[in-house]
């Protein structure tokens, strides 16, 4: 029983890391690339120079670090948890992005998107009610 509880706890912790680091990485990368401006010169030198500049951006590095942490968390949780459990549960990232946009950036979230967010929460709640590792659930 305790082992089951430990398994659930570490699954939740790593899923939370995935949900936070995945979307954060995307947002940071996007911000960093937008700060650079568009890629206008499509020659080899132009593209090389663009990417060299990208790697001087703090946001790009933070984005890469966040995505790396996301990937590590994903691999670790897959070492014991079902893929059919982890994959839908990680959709909570969409919810986090919408809530962050609404509360911190003052973005307008249309009612249809709230409906989608509510459905994701219900779906994740149902998946979360099953055992993370069906090979151990008896």
């Amino acid at each position: 029983m305790t082992e089951r509880k430990t398994l659930r706890t570490k699954t939740y912790v790593l899923l939370a890391m995935m949900v936070v680091f995945g979307p954060s990485g995307d947002v940071l990368l996007s911000r960093g690339m937008k700060q650079l401006g568009g890629l206008h010169v499509w020659s080899f030198d132009g593209i090389l120079h663009f990417f060299m500049r990208a790697f001087t951006s703090g946001s790009v590095w933070l984005g890469i670090a966040a995505l790396l942490l996301f990937f590590i968390s994903y691999l670790l949780v897959l070492s014991w948890a079902d893929f059919s459990y982890v994959s839908p549960a990680s959709a909570l990232g969409y919810v986090l992005v919408a809530l962050m946009g609404y509360f911190f950036l003052g973005e307008h979230v249309p009612p249809v998107r709230w409906l989608g967010i509510a459905l994701i929460c219900v779906g994740v709640f149902l998946v979360g009610g099953t055992h993370p590792d069906t090979r151990q659930s008896g």
Partner: protein, 124 residues
């Protein structure tokens, strides 16, 4: 939707989920990670890259990613991204038949609801 668009959406979904399932296969071969010290994590992740499934997974994910880039060059993102929400269903089917996971009724209902929710969020 043209046949070419439908074909590319299929490739993105199947290659992407195939990649994830291959990664899952590799990590299951590694066994449950129980120690979270930096040294053990580095050793575990290092060893995981010696497993063929890991490289197959990365290769399939790259196929999915570049197919997405190609598709976005002619199709609208408002069609492409919600359509790829079907990945959750394909992933659950793959998990059941390829990884031998027991996807019960409750989990299936949850997966379907998440799939609809993600499609709505992406389309809205």
């Amino acid at each position: 939707m043209t046949l070419r668009t439908a074909l590319f959406i299929g490739i993105i979904v199947v290659a992407g989920q195939g990649g994830d399932i291959s990664l899952s296969m590799a990590m299951k071969q590694m066994g449950e990670v129980k120690s979270f010290t930096p040294r053990n994590l580095a050793r575990t992740l290092g060893r995981s890259f010696q497993i063929g499934w890991m490289w197959l997974g990365i290769g399939l994910m790259a196929v999915g990613f570049f197919s997405l880039l190609a598709l976005l060059s002619w199709a609208n993102v408002s069609l492409v991204v919600p359509a790829t929400a079907s990945s959750y269903i394909v992933g659950a089917m793959g998990a059941q038949f390829l990884l031998g996971e027991r996807v019960d009724k409750m989990r299936w209902i949850g997966v379907l609801i998440v799939c609809v929710g993600v499609a709505i969020v992406c389309a809205a």
